[in-house]
Amino acid sequence: MFAPLTWFLVALALLAMVYAVVLAARDKRIDWPVLGAVGVVEVALLAQLVVGIVQLSGTERDVSGPFFVGYLVGSLIILPIGAFWALAESSRWGAGALAVACLVIPILELRLHDLWAV
């Protein structure tokens, strides 16, 4: 766990968050570049779910399985709902809402890291 894949998706999620904040600050709605970035993060999260479950099944570590898989699965629904919620708002605050969703991803990854490190 915590392979380059995780670093990649955390970095991209933070980048998307900063970009969304800039959009909101400039009174813009969310655009295709930020949605594209969020889409790539989502694909990376899907890949991480598979990698995570495979690694969990093979590890000697005392990792709490239900919580670990819960975080892996839970992380998948944040961005689609966030993007939907942002798209349905015709003001800068939609971009702000997407920034919140993007911020959740690194937090979840941090919790996953803590669960794995125990």
Partner: protein, 130 residues
Amino acid sequence: MTDPAATKHGPGRILIAVYGVFALAATARAGVQIATKFGDAPIAYLLSAVAAVIYCAATFALAKATVVSRKVATVAIAIELAGVIGIGAFSYAVPDDFPDATVWSHFGQGYGFVPLVLPVLGLLWLRRTR
């Protein structure tokens, strides 16, 4: 009287996004706790479930943004505020009953104290869009 739909637009968009995150986090947390180790701390886990229900109610009521749902949101958020203060104080007073944290333990410390700030912002926002 302003349009009740104002509740879900503007800054409310971000407020509801944060509520949604907590609804999800609290529901998932309570679900896993109750399903896997309910016997360890039944009081804490039941309170986790109550918190989850409150967060879900507040999220949907704020997002629906009708005259009636705004009332539901106000009640839910008031309970939330009472909950985080009550459980927060109780978790310091009687730590033995809380071997495993709920969302509201220690005033939401495990969640960056966001659970303490969120209901205040929620009530202010409801008043602002009244």
